[in-house]
Symmetry: C2
């Protein structure tokens, strides 16, 4: 029997909309989500969990209240829980997020109009 690996490029080719994380895998109670973003997000934080960003294509900047971090393809960064952050991409960036099942993209922020539907698989 041949099992199927998960190919990031293939999964990314299945949608074009931005700011809508899609779940591609689960490890225990953690989810792997791919997402395309461009422009500025809102300041938010996740009070109960760290959040992992891995850039697959493009360039991402994550702003913090006291600075920022720049990520290119092949780089990762883990935002510690409770730390306010704001992802930004001048051009579209494609990335992999890893976080516990149930975490919303806007964290604890009251920003329902930009809160993505959760737990959408692709």
């Amino acid at each position: 029997m041949t099992y199927q690996s998960i190919n990031f490029k293939n999964k990314l080719s299945l949608f074009s909309e931005q700011w809508t994380p899609k779940v591609i895998a689960e490890m225990n109670d953690y989810q792997f989500k791919i997402v395309k973003i461009e422009g500025d997000f809102v300041w938010h934080n996740h009070a109960d969990t760290d959040e992992t960003f891995i850039v697959l294509e493009g360039q991402l900047r994550i702003d913090f209240r006291d600075g920022n971090v720049n990520l290119s393809a092949g780089e990762m960064y883990i935002v510690p829980k409770g730390v306010e952050h704001k992802p930004y991409a001048e051009k579209e960036v494609k990335m992999l997020l890893i976080e516990p099942r149930g975490v919303l993209n806007t964290g604890d922020e009251d920003a329902s109009e930009i809160t993505a539907v959760n737990d959408v698989w692709i």
Copy 2:
């Protein structure tokens, strides 16, 4: 203040030995480890946790008792907890493992001579 991203290629350039996972980051109680392997490992399983494999360079095959999965760079696979598996690489493969802190490379197998020292950061 400029924070530093974690670059997989840079981290991989810091060591050459095989079969010795090095921790590069922690998200909550999970660790991200890079490792280089070549050849055949032992059959083992992790009774209490899934295990994530992401291939960074090269080709990996994971054998199961009833089949296998092939992974190239840019692909991932999650081995469910309790499932016996044996990683294999004809040529050296460089990969990222994600699993809870404290998980040993040989799982529940009694194979102390090939069990890597745990929690080594790079």
